[in-house]
């Protein structure tokens, strides 16, 4: 009897971790499947009229217009930091004339889309996840469902469309303000001529760079709104669940922005 118990215990110590690992793998795969399916459903409802124009405009205002001040502030300072570091570095090799292209290309190809997306994730993405999460736990999403009004159409599609429209605009604003931030430092502080600063940008910046930034901002717009809606939609229980969904949406969207930035950076010209 004792030997059998010992054998059972030994067997359990091997099987239990294996079972747990198996369960965790299945759970992770099923969550990933659900995450992908969520976007597929949203894209399907994107094509099915009637389109909720009013909700979409509200979302554009929420994601875009209300993020403008933080984009202006962070864009300006990012450009100033790039201008300062660029001037300090390039002056050592006597190439300070190239500070304009250094600031502009870094902003337009990389920093503009990434930092603007991160700012909007923190401000609007978290709020969207919390709002949809509260709607879920207070049965407002169920109410939409039993009214035969699909929540995807009313909540998710307008948010994703708003992301597609607002993110590129915020990105451009970030880039332009950033370039002027760099101008302030290079021209007004270090005395570089204005013509050199903008002339070199014109000479070095290509339309490809602008397109790369545009495609990235579009992709980040989808990612941030998709993650926020998904986390809100499948929120846990109570206030704790909403808090967790909000945090997870910011963390996941931020990580996905960096991963996608790398992938797109290596694929796009």
């Amino acid at each position: 009897m004792t030997i059998r118990h010992a054998t059972d215990a030994a067997l359990a110590s091997i099987v239990d971790p294996a079972q747990q690992l198996g369960r965790a793998t299945v759970d992770t795969l099923s969550a990933m499947g659900r995450f992908g399916l969520f976007l597929a459903q949203a894209l399907f409802w994107l094509l099915v009229p009637p389109f909720k124009v009013g909700q979409t405009l509200q979302r554009i205002s929420f994601i875009g217009a209300r993020s403008m001040s933080i984009i202006l502030l962070t864009g300006g300072f990012t450009g100033m930091v790039l201008g300062l570091q660029g001037m300090l570095l390039l002056r050592r090799v006597g190439s300070e004339a190239f500070v304009g292209p250094a600031v502009a290309v870094s902003l337009i190809r990389e920093l503009g889309p990434v930092l603007a997306a991160l700012m909007v994730t923190g401000r609007a993405g978290s709020a969207i996840a919390a709002e949809i999460g509260v709607m879920r736990i207070t049965e407002q999403i169920d109410a939409l469902t039993v009214m035969a009004l699909h929540p995807m159409r009313y909540l998710v599609v307008p948010t994703i469309v708003a992301g597609l429209i607002a993110f590129p605009i915020l990105n451009w604003v970030f880039d332009v303000v950033g370039i002027f931030g760099g101008y302030l430092i290079a021209v007004k502080l270090f005395g570089l001529s204005s013509g050199t600063y903008f002339g070199q940008i014109q000479a070095f910046l290509s339309t490809t760079d602008i397109w790369v930034g545009f495609w990235k901002s579009l992709a980040f717009g989808v990612v941030v709104t998709w993650v926020a809606c998904y986390k809100g939609f499948y929120v846990g229980h109570g206030a704790e669940g909403v808090g967790r969904a909000t945090t997870e949406s910011v963390v996941l969207a931020s990580v996905m922005i960096f991963v996608l930035d790398y992938l797109m950076g290596s694929i796009l010209p």
Binding site: T138, T145, M147
Partner: protein, 266 residues
């Protein structure tokens, strides 16, 4: 004891203008290893107001969520107007749901809309008519629940009792044939409980819908229900008129309606 028995023939009743019957057969649901519904059988006649009572966590709200198509059962059928809801998906399910009115436990009013916009919402979204033509209907629904002058307020600005009334107005503005009420009086004082119950009975008589109401309000619900079903441990323990339930000899039913603390093994 009157057990839940399906009535032959009514399953075939087609969708019509009258209130449809609801037939639930052997409904089973398990969450993980926990069985919640162990084979619920219940028949609700056309135009009947059935109140489902039972202990907290006994599966009443889960039963309601199954009927609304928000949860899929492991086994069993839910037949409304001749259609098995458990087999319907997408547009077909939506078509049945369009005949429903639902009052959720917390009201489930949309925070971002005013009281009037909340009531207007379901008809506005389903109608091609301009809002100006639909507005009187929403205002009338609000007036019927005694909140005609509260339309401009947001849900957060009105009391819990008022929110329940708005939820009832929103559920009935589409003139549904089937109404579900999930504990519509939870958290209200006794005067408000009676006032909401009175409102439900009045509207039920006026609009003649089939209704299932989940409630804990004993003995108040005995004054408003056509029949009462007692849900215990995932099964319908007894169904009967309020008088039959009040006079039940079943130990579990008596224990529940008299609010006795369980002291002996069943």
């Amino acid at each position: 004891m009157v057990m839940a028995q399906p009535l032959a023939g009514e399953r075939e009743v087609a969708a019509s203008d009258g209130p449809p019957p609801i037939q639930i057969e052997n409904l089973q649901k398990r969450f993980g290893t926990q069985p919640v519904l162990r084979g619920v059988d219940l028949h609700v006649g056309p135009g009947e107001l059935m109140v489902v009572i039972g202990r907290s966590g006994g599966g009443k709200s889960v039963l309601l969520r199954h009927i609304l198509g928000l949860v899929r059962p492991d086994a069993g059928r839910i037949v409304i107007a001749g259609q098995d809801l458990t087999r319907l998906r997408g547009r077909a399910l939506d078509r049945v749901r369009e005949r429903f009115g639902v009052v959720f436990q917390g009201g489930a009013l949309f925070d971002s809309l005013t009281v009037l916009q909340n009531v207007l919402f379901p008809i506005k979204e389903k109608s091609r008519l301009p809002v100006a033509q639909l507005l009187p209907r929403a205002q009338e629904a609000l007036a019927q629940v005694g909140l005609a002058d509260m339309g401009h307020k947001f849900p957060a600005e009105i009391s819990g009792g008022m929110r329940k009334r708005v939820a009832i107005a929103r559920a009935l503005v589409t003139e549904p044939k089937v109404v579900f009420l999930d504990e519509p009086t939870t958290g209200l004082d006794p005067i408000l409980v009676n006032s909401i119950h009175h409102l439900i009975v009045t509207l039920h008589r006026q609009f003649n819908f089939t209704a299932i109401m989940v409630s804990h309000e004993i003995p108040e619900i005995f004054r408003i229900a056509d029949r009462v079903a007692v849900l215990n441990e995932g099964r319908i323990r007894q169904v009967g008129t309020p008088a039959e339930i009040e006079g039940s000899k079943d130990r579990v039913v008596r224990q529940f309606i008299q609010g006795e603390v369980e002291t002996e093994a069943r």
